[in-house]
């Protein structure tokens, strides 16, 4: 079980074929092999949320996934969400509200916030706080993040017919 295994997946819309050790986790695969360093590693045991990515449409902790588990899957990272324009409004709200300081938690935070906004159109502050409770931020105290997510939800509702 220590020999590399071939995997094939889609990352941010591009097909990726790679040889990975069975023990390699998804966060390290993305960062070290694909050089997608926007996915951050904060705790390496699934607590802090900095490594949050999307796999087959669901957010996952990439430090708790093995790269081999992504064979055949679709993985999206912060770089992909940024380039597709999917979260441009959310990022603008974070910028206007200064909802990030050091920025290390921010890719994971944006991933988790977008996940909530896709599921619910009118989350209140408590619901936003609850959904983001698995993403640690040591700089902001969270209030600005909650404000930015709320602003984005309101703006998106306004755009719907």
């Amino acid at each position: 079980m220590t020999a590399p295994l071939p995997i094939s997946l889609h990352v941010n819309g591009e097909r990726v074929d790679a040889q990975v050790l069975p023990r390699l986790n998804l966060a390290d695969f993305l960062r070290e092999q694909l050089k997608l360093t926007g996915t951050h590693v904060g705790c390496e045991h699934g607590v802090c949320g900095a490594c949050t990515v999307r796999m087959n449409g669901e957010i996952v902790r990439s430090c708790l996934m093995l790269a081999v588990q992504t064979h055949g899957a679709t993985v999206e990272t912060i770089e992909g969400l940024s380039d597709s324009g999917e979260i441009t409004d959310l990022q603008a709200a974070f910028r206007d509200r200064n909802a990030l300081q050091c920025g290390f938690c921010t890719p994971g935070m944006l991933m988790a916030a977008q996940d909530l906004l896709k599921q619910e159109s009118e989350p209140d502050r408590e619901r936003i706080r609850e959904h983001l409770a698995g993403n640690y931020c040591r700089c902001t105290g969270y209030q600005a993040i909650v404000d930015a997510v709320k602003t984005t939800a309101r703006a998106r509702r306004g755009r719907k017919p």
């Binding site: 360093t37 951050h40 607590v47 802090c48 910028r95 290390f104 706080r129 640690y136 040591r138 105290g141």
Partner: protein, 797 residues
């Protein structure tokens, strides 16, 4: 906003049309971080880079009998395994003392332990391999034989004669002691109607930066130059220390600091494993990367607080505070940290207790002892939360004893807003504070009387809510009095260079650093405002000892007040130089010209005369068309350090509104208010967010955060699942207000704001919990206020 600026009509260099000062403008370069395109040290890769992993001691105190690295050395991918003795030829040991902290002692500390380990987590060998996972595998194969020694863990007994001395050469386990006796303290207590005393206990906690400490050291043997990529708050300090201990000139060391994933004081020190990484690069002639994992972070990032402080207060029945007295004890681990030392926090506690109040009668003793736990040192708001919790806890206890409202006792004792300048019993000099204005604003914001009515109504329904108030002072803008006078090569001055480029844009190099506070933004706001240039045309370069002027960096709430003033003064010079050239080009006089909206304009009516882009073109490419004798200087540098006051003290007040579940012991935070006075607000949003972030770190200390050691010195919760930090779901919204008393020491008038939130948050929460528990007669003077602590005080367990 209340402004106490004496002369609002006077136009300064900052009160210009289109000024960015006082405006909410987005920080530059946030897109990079939000798109995952930043460059943290943990992201960095260099050609031939190898990874180091450290074998760390499982014991708190042990002799190293032998290290067998034979099996590990033969593993594929392993490059080297280096032990303490082998480092001795490359890097010298250090001692974390400063001469102005009289009597402070410590023992020589090595990059890697030699012969003995003094805390669980101290490195005993470095394993270098082609990849981190390979190095981790090899580290597990290194066999170290230890002979366990008795561990000194309880600071209360560390000085007892039967307890082993950790460093025999020092004679005892006392690192530092300070005594202060000001005013007729005994007479003041004798003349008090009531004397209240309490033991305050503060849990040991740590910073938990989301990006762990990380460094890449790259010794280029052909250049004989070391480049250190490190997430640090103080690049020039790192340059000095690395050069000193590697036997290099400072010119042979470059420190580069790109994005930093959180600092909070954790990344302003010199750690043994970082020194080892520099040395390994020199030894192995290739780039070496070290990134701490989370367990290593908990075991080796500096811890903070861990104080036990007895205190008493004397008070008259009319509420007059007669005297304070404290006896503080803190345990700092086996070594005083380098180069800032581990005596500063206790020293600050002595300085700051009683600081907001009028009484001149104050006696204090602080003792700092060694123990076999991880090192302790300066973390955000150094000493302030201890001093504030002790002072404000005692004030509330005194108010309760004489039956006076906590607000009223503060109104009667806080230093009057018109009493400045004045000094504290410990010798702190206050230029201008605003305790009463801040308290009045706070009570209006929180609607104090209505909250008291709500509290009383809910009590009848067996719902126990409390209000806690905490006034505080904060040390900001430190001069050389902080470290320089004690012999540390830590700059208290900062420098800024501004230049107009060939397209009329501005490049600004500053020695302050960015870890998310907004250093780039405040620099661009100041430079743009003074020059009359839009912020979009100002680019700020920081965090590179090859590129920026020499300076201290960003710590102790100094970036805006010191680095900001240097930026202001540099921009003024460049502005003058630009106008001199413009006058020559336009055959006008500099006094008749101004700069606005990226163009030189006529001062009288603002009509555009020449765009900066065009002026730059002429200066750089057609100087032949300028009048004879004109040599334009489109680059200017200025440095600044405060000289009149050793520190620019700020003040503020916080309030907490919370509910205690007396069945479970859980504390639910409902609301938190802060009013603070950092002088000129350069960007109110950034100040508010510094306050909020600081408050939440203080709330973490108040309710959750604690490094739990067992009696053998084992850290039992060294992971993020067991060490609790505040999460979004349990934090309250925080209202922030300001009083503005600019410092007259600078033209900018800005004081620091980075630590105000952390300074008073725990005190406000503890006072609120005691307020909530008043009907039960329970008083708690210990943080974190865990359910166990609360239920114990309620005698439910």
């Amino acid at each position: 906003m209340t402004s106490s600026r004496a002369n609002p009509e006077t136009l300064s260099a900052l009160d210009r049309p289109n000024s960015y000062i006082g405006k909410v403008v987005p920080r530059p370069n946030l897109d990079r971080l939000m798109q995952g395109r930043g460059l943290y040290v943990s992201d960095l890769e260099l050609p031939r880079m190898a990874h180091v992993v450290f074998v760390r001691s499982p014991h708190a105190h042990a002799k190293i009998v032998g290290i067998d690295a034979g099996a590990a050395r033969s593993m594929p991918g392993v490059i080297a395994i280096v032990t303490g003795e082998e480092f001795a030829s490359v890097i010298t040991p250090w001692v974390g003392v400063l001469s102005h902290l009289k009597g402070l002692k410590s023992a020589p500390q090595h990059a890697i332990a030699i012969g003995r380990v003094c805390w669980q987590g101290e490195a005993v060998a470095a394993v270098v391999a082609t990849g981190r996972a390979v190095a981790e595998d090899a580290a597990e194969m290194v066999s170290v034989e230890y002979e366990e020694l008795e561990a000194v863990t309880d600071m209360r007994t560390a000085l007892d004669p039967q307890v082993p001395v950790i460093h025999s050469s020092l004679g005892d386990n006392l690192a530092f002691e300070r005594n202060l006796d000001a005013g007729p303290v005994d007479a003041a207590f004798a003349g008090s109607d009531e004397i209240v005393e309490a033991d305050f206990v503060f849990g040991r906690h740590t910073g938990v930066t989301l990006e762990p400490r990380a460094v890449v050291a790259d010794w280029n043997v052909a250049e004989t130059r070391l480049t250190i990529y490190q997430g640090t708050q103080a690049p020039h300090m790192v340059q000095n220390i690395a050069a000193l201990h590697l036997g290099l000139e400072e010119s042979q060391v470059r420190v580069v600091c790109k994005d930093v994933g959180g600092s909070f004081g954790i990344k302003v020190h010199i750690y043994a494993d970082e020194m080892a990484t520099y040395a390994l690069s020199k030894l192995l002639r290739r780039p070496i990367k070290f990134v701490a994992d989370r367990v290593e972070s908990f075991n080796t990032d500096i811890h903070a607080r861990d104080h036990r402080c007895w205190g008493r207060i004397g008070v008259k029945r009319d509420g007059t505070i007669m005297a304070f007295e404290i006896d503080d004890l803190t345990g700092i681990g086996p070594y005083s940290m380098y180069p800032r030392t581990s005596a500063i926090e206790a020293n600050q506690v002595v300085n700051l207790v009683g600081g907001p109040y009028k009484t001149k009668n104050y006696r204090a003793r602080a003792r700092v002892v060694f123990q076999n736990k991880n090192v302790m040192c300066q973390y955000r708001s150094v000493g302030h939360p201890i001093a504030c919790s002790v002072t404000e806890g005692l004030v509330d206890l005194a108010a309760s004893r004489i039956g006076m409202d906590p607000l009223e006792v503060r109104r009667r004792n806080l230093i009057a807003d018109d009493a400045y300048p004045c000094a504290s019993p410990s010798g702190l000099r206050f230029e201008l504070l605003s305790h009463h204005a801040a308290l009045n604003k706070l009570t209006a914001m929180m609607n104090y009387d209505a909250l008291r009515a709500e509290q009383a109504a809910l009590r009848k329904k067996n719902v126990h809510r409390g209000i806690g108030i905490a006034s505080f002072i904060e040390v900001t803008n430190p001069s050389a009095a902080f470290y320089g006078v004690g012999g540390a090569r830590i700059s208290s001055q900062d420098g800024v260079t501004v230049r107009l480029d060939a397209q009329g844009a501005v490049i600004c190099q500053t020695s302050i650093t960015e870890q998310g506070q907004g250093s780039e933004s405040l620099t661009a706001q100041i430079v743009g405002s003074v020059l009359g240039v839009s912020m979009a045309r100002v680019r700020v370069i920081l965090g590179d000892t090859d590129q920026t002027p020499y300076g201290g960096g960003t710590w102790a709430s100094r970036g805006a007040g010191i680095g900001g003033e240097a930026a202001l003064q540099a921009a003024k010079i460049l502005r003058k130089n630009i106008l001199d050239v413009a006058a020559a080009i336009l055959q006008s006089a500099p006094t008749e010209l101004d700069i606005a909206n990226d163009a030189v304009v006529k001062a009288s009516d603002g009509t555009a005369r020449i765009e900066l882009r065009e002026l730059a073109r002429i200066v750089y490419f057609r100087p032949d068309t300028l009048p004879p004798g004109i040599q334009p200087e489109l680059m200017a540098t200025r440095h600044f350090v405060p000289r009149n006051y050793p520190f620019a003290f700020t003040n503020g007040v916080q309030a907490s509104w919370l509910e205690v579940d007396t069945d479970t012991g859980f504390v639910k935070l409902l609301r938190h208010w802060v009013v603070e006075d950092c002088g000129t607000l350069i960007n109110p949003q950034l100040v508010d967010e510094q306050i909020r972030g600081g408050v939440v770190q203080g709330l973490g200390a108040a309710l959750f955060e604690k490094c739990i050691y067992d009696e053998r010195g084992q850290l039992t919760n060294a992971n993020m699942a067991d060490y609790l930090v505040p999460m979004s779901g349990e934090m309250p919204d925080i209202d922030v207000g300001h009083v503005v008393s600019p410092t007259a020491e600078t033209e900018l008038g800005a004081k620091g704001a980075g630590e105000a939130g952390t300074a008073g948050a725990a005190a406000a929460v503890a006072n609120a919990v005691n307020d909530a528990l008043k009907p039960f007669g329970a008083i708690i003077t210990e943080i974190p206020l865990t359910p166990q602590v609360v239920l114990t005080a309620l005698r439910r367990i």
